[in-house]
Amino acid sequence: MSRGNASAASSLHTITIEGLNKSYYEVPAKAAAGDVHYIIKDVNLVIKGGEFFILLGPSGCGKSTLLNMIAGFVSKTGGNLRVGSSEIQKPGRDRAVVFQQADSSLFPWLTVRQNVEFGLKMKKVPKKQRRVISDQYIDLVGLSGHGDKFPRELSGGMKQRVQLARVLANDPEILLMDEPFGALDAMTRRTMQKELVRIWRQTNKTIVFVTHDIQEAILLGQRIGIMSSGPSSRISDIYEIPLSYPRDVSALEFYDYYSKIQSHFDE
């Protein structure tokens, strides 16, 4: 994308990561001696507003840690981490998080609708207005008619739809998704991937999506950042995937990208 009028608006929500480090063992004496274990080290990355970006890497490579740092849940050890021009210090409404486990992140004592309205209620949005917004997003994620059910009455895929509606209702700029379809069966997962692409194109949100599944990465992302395995992991490569949506897993170009990225991990 060239620098034009469109990117001026979206640059407000550009995620800029410069020389980012994270270490859980912050012993000053050891750090001075250079003996520090880094989870991630020297990560440099720019994610543009409205982009669908994938963080791909093996388990334990620190991609969730990086996502949690963007979310503001985990503090950085060093480097810069900005959204637009402001440094990330704590969680905020502009960065919504979709967790891998819907069961641990949804509120089981609230109905689907009450879950979706949670953020609005915290912001003290009047009840009537809440209802209008929650109807809109329950509809968007394809859960019309399920608003009065409790999460325990829903299937795994439907629970992830509730999570999506719940964050979208707050109108965030950025969606941070940590292997959200990892716990779903293959067929539900495929449906959810298609749905996510549809919702992304409808809402123009920036999405940072963590996965260890190469196929999922190529199916969803405009760019794929490959994280080297830890410790001291970093973004080792970035692949552009210029294929048009919706993408076809059986297409020849798809396979080309697949084998290219696959060979990256075989080394």
């Binding site: 979310a71 503001g72 849940f73 704590k90 969680p91 905020g92 409404r93 960065r95 919504a96 998080v97 967790f99 486990q101 641990s104 992140s105 949804l106 509120f107 089981p108 004592w109 949670f118 953020g119 209620k121 915290m122 912001k123 409790f150 719940r166 964050v167 707050n170």
Partner: protein
């Protein structure tokens, strides 16, 4: 016969008749002074009901237990949440809690009489003490077991710390609080009987203790059965409340066949 055995009411009737029969046999073997049989106990119960003392004693014991227990729970729940939520307070309070909670309420009776007087206050304070630590410990455990994802989700949806406490931590902790409150009811009954035996002229504990002066073991049996029934009824009501009102918070009740 085997068809009847599948009927719940039939099993219950057979069970109760057997228990009453065994009880009566015991009474025949050892004599009514040692083990008053079901019939003697029923006669004694009628006697105590007719002069009004049993109803009065049950009333006063209930009053003490319910007041102390309700006050204790109301104080303990916010304390438990505070200790669970704030690390610094927990580091300080946790050893203290685990020290004090091993001192049984009965051990405090004399001191409470000195501090709060011979009247109702000392008994209610005792029940309050018996309730406090159980509810605090359970609430605290509940707060510590709230999934981090829920708190993080709320935080990234713009919740303030107080909103997180009210809208996430309290509802998520509800099953633990409820269990604590329910267990505390049991210890409250134990504490009240001890207190009434030592320092009261009324109540079921007093009835049981006082009966020794007249060697009325049948009255003691009436007292024991009253205590069991009082506890049973309160627990069932509490269980019903948990199921009907707190069901959405994941509170489950242990009464049979209603899971």
């Amino acid at each position: 016969m085997s068809k009847w055995l599948r009927e719940k009411w039939f099993v219950l009737i057979v069970l109760w008749i057997s228990i009453l029969a065994l009880w009566q046999i015991g009474a025949e073997l050892y004599g009514p002074e040692v083990i008053p049989g079901p019939v003697d106990t029923a006669i004694a119960a009628r006697e105590l009901l007719q002069d009004g003392s049993l109803v009065q004693y049950i009333g006063i014991s209930f009053y003490r237990v319910l007041t102390g227990w309700a006050l204790g729970s109301l104080i303990a729940i916010p304390i438990g949440i505070l200790i669970g939520k704030v690390d610094h307070i927990r580091n300080f309070a946790e050893p203290l809690l685990n020290f004090i909670r091993f001192i049984p309420p009965i051990a405090f009776i004399t001191l409470f009489l000195v501090w709060f007087g011979i009247g109702e206050q000392s008994k209610i304070a005792l029940i309050l003490y018996a309730t406090l630590f159980i509810v605090i410990m359970n609430t605290l455990t509940g707060v510590l077991s709230v999934e981090e994802d829920k708190i993080r989700a709320a935080r990234s949806m713009g919740s303030s710390e107080s909103q997180i406490v009210i809208h996430v931590i309290v509802p998520a902790t509800m099953p633990y609080i409820f269990t604590g409150v329910r267990l505390a009811m049991g210890t409250s009954f134990m504490a009240i009987v001890g207190a009434e035996m030592i320092a009261s002229n009324e109540g079921v504990g007093y009835l049981i203790w006082n009966s020794r002066l007249f060697f009325r073991t049948d009255w003691i049996f009436v007292g024991l059965i009253s205590l069991g029934l009082m506890g049973f009824v309160t627990d069932r009501l509490l269980g019903l409340f948990g199921r009907k009102v707190l069901g959405r918070y994941g509170v489950v009740s242990s009464s049979p066949g209603k899971r």
